[in-house]
């Protein structure tokens, strides 16, 4: 029970936040909408009130006189037409402005959500199912569209009606007003109760929808595996279970939302009867100066008082589901971004004959670390070299289980360092620490003798090229995908990089060469071709240090040899960390680290390690046999 009030409070905050979002950029437009709604409401009121005027002021006198004069009526009708036309125009205006406001707010929300997502640490993506993240964009953001576009104007409209009616009611008769207000209180109480239940189910509905979304996406991504393992039946069974859950919660959520309307309307009817009976009793005894005529007018007010309450409660369903969606949207937005306390920046430099360094905007191909010293207020520059040292590094993904123990590495500029070891030994993890995808638990990592915690993350990553274990390409042309490495690279530079990576020849054989469109993560290319592209992408970035994670693992031997040549050229003068299963590819490394269970158990050159006849020797000779 103690958690319930807290939840409701959170809900209120969510609503506040959405309104804040909407009002931030559209304060004046929204004010205009409110004004237009008021004008429209007043005009609509005119049309309902006109019946009485028509009969009392025009028809009755005309019936009485022998020769009816239609002139005044015609004049009055033209006047009315004018007023109503204004109502139509304001109605269109607020509908139209609301489109701008709701779509503008949606756009900002999407962009903010995306921008924030891009800033989240890798860990977030490790711990959240990708389908769940997608569902926030597709399902949850959508529910807000209805809230902003429809529910909010409706609520304002109803509020206006309630205020005007209430004022008229107070003027007519206070005791009956109290009765009506009491009944409306009951309506609000009941709608609160029903709404509370509905809300719980709407939240679980959004959650179940997310689960279905995630499941479908996962199964489609792995469709090949599903098919070759004949897993369709199981996939359908699991889906049916999730689908059933979704129906269950959607059914309950909608049920409570649906019965809201009849419940409200009929409490309204009972309120009407109560007022009629009490009013009649009062009027017949002449209490409170209540005449029968006033009672009749009051009763019609009673109806128009409870109607907007019913209408608002009818909107509750969509408000509730929007709240459930918004909570998930804001939860993602509240995830802490990657924390960056670095202040050392990477800058382009020019060097004169004396070796003095000056900062420049020109593309000189030379870089330096810009190191501000707060205490003295001075700035020093240090040439970017690509030296990487690790000192006694420990690391754990979850803070509990240490996966890397006491790792120390010295990579001088231009050296090639190789990591070998069995799957899960921690090879990839080490490289993910160097570019700070994850932060270390203990020890130190230095890049060009600067603690990497002091370097701005984006500059650190810019100074490190990466070819990842699984290749991801983006929708766009081949050229655009290569240029991803360096956005200001010219077409010629991209082609040079492709040539270096030996990707040029296959690209030229594609239907549109470098302008071939890639879709769905480069699904129309073979695995090896995609890797060649990833290497070209890294080559065009031209970083002083590189991480190649199993880059050659799924390229056949002939292509591998080609890539190897390109790689060797690319590695010239660069510090390189290589992770490869095929030991033949790491033979020429300056230093080979053999990892086992998160520890470096052997290190040295190929010849040294072979001589040692240790684990590497076993792996090497073993692999020779199986390969």
């Amino acid at each position: 029970m103690s958690t319930k009030p807290k939840k409701q409070k959170m809900n209120k905050d969510v609503l506040k936040r959405i309104l804040g979002y909407m009002l931030k950029n559209y304060k004046w437009q929204f004010l205009l909408v409110v004004i237009c709604i008021i004008v429209t409401a007043v005009c609509t009121l005119q049309s309902t009130l006109f019946t009485r005027t028509l009969i009392d002021d025009y028809i009755t006198p005309m019936l009485a006189s022998g020769s009816p004069d239609y002139g005044p009526l015609a004049k009055r009708l033209v006047q009315l037409a004018g007023v109503l036309l204004i109502g139509v125009i304001t109605a269109y205006s607020y509908n139209r402005i609301m489109v701008n406001i709701s779509q503008g707010t949606m756009e900002r929300l999407r962009v903010d959500l995306f921008t924030h997502m891009e800033s989240l640490p890798i860990k977030y993506f490790d711990t959240h199912a990708h389908g769940d993240i997608m569902s926030v964009y597709t399902n949850d953001v959508d529910t807000l569209r209805q809230l902003i576009g429809q529910s909010i104007p409706q609520v304002i409209n109803s509020t206006m009606t309630i205020i005007t009616t209430f004022t008229s009611m107070v003027i007519l008769n206070i005791p009956l007003t109290i009765v009506s207000v009491c009944m409306v209180m009951i309506m609000l109480k009941v709608s609160g109760q029903l709404g509370g239940r509905s809300r719980g189910y709407f939240i679980s509905q959004q959650k179940d929808l997310g689960a279905v979304n995630g499941y479908i996406e996962e199964m489609l991504t792995g469709q090949k595996v599903v098919k070759v393992f004949n897993h369709e039946k199981k996939a359908i069974e699991d889906f049916d279970k999730l689908n059933g859950n979704l129906r269950e919660s959607a059914n309950n959520a909608n049920k409570y939302a649906n019965i809201m309307m009849p419940v409200m309307a009929n409490i309204g009817n009972i309120s009407y009867v109560l007022c009629a009976v009490i009013g009649a009793a009062l009027a017949l005894r002449g209490y409170f100066g209540l005449t029968l005529g006033t009672l009749v007018s009051f009763l019609s007010l009673n109806k128009s008082f409870s109607m907007p309450v019913t209408q608002v409660s009818n909107q509750i369903a969509s408000i509730i589901s929007a709240m459930a969606g918004a909570e998930r949207v804001f939860r993602m937005m509240d995830e802490p971004s990657e924390f960056d306390e670095g202040y050392v920046e990477l800058v382009r430099i020019e060097e004169d004959a004396q070796g003095n360094i000056t900062e420049t905007d020109r593309n000189t191909g030379k870089w330096a670390w810009r190191h501000p010293h707060k205490a003295e207020g001075t700035v020093t520059y240090q040439r970017l070299q690509g030296k990487v040292n690790m000192y006694n590094v420990d690391f754990s993904y979850d803070g509990k289980k240490t996966v890397l123990h006491d790792i120390s590495i010295d990579a001088e500029p231009g050296q090639k360092i190789a990591f070998v070891g069995s799957t899960g030994a921690g090879k990839t993890t080490i490289t993910n620490l160097i570019n700070r995808f994850y932060d270390i638990a203990d020890g130190k990592i230095r890049y060009d003798d600067i603690n990497i915690n002091k370097i701005r993350k984006q500059d650190l990553r810019r100074s490190l090229g990466m070819v990842l274990q699984d290749t991801h390409l983006f929708t766009g042309t081949v050229m655009e995908n290569i240029r991803y490495g360096r956005l200001d690279a010219t077409d010629e530079e991209c082609m040079e990089a492709a040539m270096l990576a030996r990707a040029d020849s296959f690209i030229r054989r594609l239907p549109n060469g470098y302008n071939t469109m890639l879709k769905g993560d480069g699904g129309n290319l073979s695995q090896g071709q995609r890797q060649l592209l990833a290497i070209a992408r890294c080559a065009v970035a031209n970083p002083p240090a590189m991480i190649l994670d199993e880059a050659t693992s799924s390229i056949d031997s002939r292509t591998e040899k080609m890539v190897q040549e390109g790689m060797d050229a690319l590695m010239e003068g660069r510090t390189t960390f290589v992770i490869a299963h095929r030991l033949s590819t790491v033979r020429n490394s300056d230093c080979i680290m053999v990892l086992e269970q998160g520890r470096i158990i052997e290190r040295g050159t190929h010849d040294e390690l072979i001589e040692k006849k240790g684990r590497y020797y076993q792996l090497y000779t073993g692999s020779q046999i199986t390969e």
Binding site: S102, Q103, H130, N139, E218, K234, V273, Y484
Partner: protein, 467 residues
């Protein structure tokens, strides 16, 4: 198309039929209640008769409870019918997608299929509920009111007929315009979601190359374009409400003018005119509701079409009419096989392959990247069909087998490994759902994977997320 969708009602037929019936009963109560209120005023309050007030008041309370009961039932069944309909629709789509070949899936894209099965189905679910629950109400109210009007004055009623015709025409124009724009909107929406998906799965690449800003500006542009289109589509819909009001007001003015003449000419009474006004309101209220239903349907029509496209998509690969369920032996024959991913382009990945492998042989296939090795293997388990020639397993064309049999007998280890959310054990059991834990562990030992699994926090029960 409608027929296809009605099939999805399935076991929820009872709920679907009961909803309009209860709604109709509710509407009857709603129409009757104003009569009783008129009684309370005319015979009770105006006549100063307290007993009559109590009598009709009591009657109205009883009717209110009846109306509540009907409304409650209608709401309950409507929810059951609509959500059940959506469930069946999703299940059907999912089953159908399971039969899709890769080119079928590529046609819609993964993101596209996901949106179709979630957002679009939710849209259709809401529209369905709206139709069975609310759509019965306005036509019924409309019919009753129009009949009453004609009873009072056929002359004045022609005003309504003209108004309804004008309105219907306006609504159709609005709807048709909105539809075309919404179709474009949804395509763009898919593309936007696809780019989000791309970023989620390639987040390491984005971060490694420090391309967050680049991706952000790409997304911003796409979201901006989407917004523009949405604004365009919804501004057409924004005409709906004012158009309605224009017609209502026109009716009121026309009725005032002509009504006044009729009353003065004594063809109708003042009371009749007042009733006519209240019927105008109820007719136009129904039309207002109807237009809301139209908007909902308009919005969902695009969704309906998108769902329908998935449902009618013919899977490229189909089981034969009389499938063979036994594989005789492990022999594999390629008889002059050619294959192109896109048929008719002449871009053959495999050209005239003629190869015969005997049962039990181990065959190595060599060649540079992109030379067609994976494609070659894919044809054996019939992930694609050969463009020319025939592929035979156990001496029979692969097209003769039930796909399940074929894929059960031909095991594949794929190049890029996809793991699924669940424990490691769950993932292992993909190979054989009935495998015991011991068998799974033994298999891991064979694949030399036991070592790293043992080091996971919960061993074989470690939960892994996708990828």
């Amino acid at each position: 198309m409608i027929k296809r969708f009605l099939q999805e009602v399935g076991e929820y037929k009872r709920d679907t039929i009961l909803t309009p019936i209860f709604t109709a009963a509710e509407v009857v109560m709603e129409v009757l209640i104003p009569y009783v209120t008129a009684m309370i005023i005319d015979q009770g309050i105006n006549a100063g008769d307290m007993n009559a007030v109590l009598k009709y008041g009591g009657l109205m309370v009883i009717m209110a409870f009846c109306s509540l009961f009907f409304g409650f039932q209608a709401g309950r069944h409507a929810a059951a019918a609509a959500t059940g309909f959506a469930k069946n629709l999703r299940a059907d789509m999912y089953r159908h997608i399971q039969e899709f070949s890769f080119s079928n899936i590529d046609k819609f894209s993964t993101a596209g299929l996901v949106t179709r099965m979630t957002t679009d189905v939710t849209n259709v679910q809401n529209a369905f509920q709206m139709i069975i629950r609310i759509a019965v109400r306005p036509p019924l109210m409309l019919t009753i009111s129009v009949i009453m009007c004609f009873v009072i004055s056929p002359d004045l009623s022609t005003i309504f007929l003209v108004a309804i015709a004008v309105l219907a025409f306006a609504l159709i124009i609005i709807m048709m315009n909105a539809m075309t724009t919404f179709n474009v909107v949804f395509t763009k929406y898919d593309a936007l979601n696809a780019s989000v998906q791309e970023n989620v799965s390639a987040i390491r690449v984005v971060k490694a190359f420090v391309r967050e800003d680049h991706e952000n500006s790409k997304f911003k542009e796409a979201a901006g374009n989407l917004k523009k289109l949405f604004v365009k589509a919804e501004s057409i819909i924004a005409f709906n409400n004012p158009a309605m009001m224009l017609v209502v007001y026109g009716c009121i003015i026309a009725l005032s003018w002509f009504g006044a003449h009729h009353v003065v000419a004594k063809t109708i009474t003042t009371g009749n005119l007042t009733s006519m006004f209240s019927y105008v309101m109820s007719i136009l209220m129904s039309l207002m509701m109807l237009s809301m239903v139209f908007v909902m349907i308009t919005l969902s029509l695009a969704s309906i079409k998108r769902i329908y496209e998935v449902l009618i998509e013919e899977p490229d690969l189909k089981d034969p009419a009389q499938p063979v369920t036994e594989v005789a032996d492990g022999s594999i024959d390629f008889n002059h096989v050619s294959f192109a991913y896109r048929q008719g382009t002449g871009d053959n990945v495999l050209k005239d392959i003629d190869l015969h492998i005997h049962s039990g042989e181990t065959i190595g296939i060599l060649g540079p990247t992109g030379s067609g090795k994976s494609t070659f293997v894919s044809l054996i388990s019939r992930l694609y069909d050969a463009t020319e020639g025939e592929v035979c397993v156990g001496g029979r064309n692969v097209k003769d087998y039930a796909m399940e049999t074929l894929r059960d007998k031909v095991s594949v280890v794929l190049q890029n490994n996809v793991l699924f959310s669940g424990t490691i054990l769950d993932n292992l059991r993909w190979g054989n759902p009935n495998a015991s834990e011991e068998e799974c562990i033994a298999a891991c030992r064979l694949a030399c994977a036991d070592e790293f699994i043992d080091r996971m926090p919960d061993g074989y029960n470690t939960h892994i997320e996708q990828g």
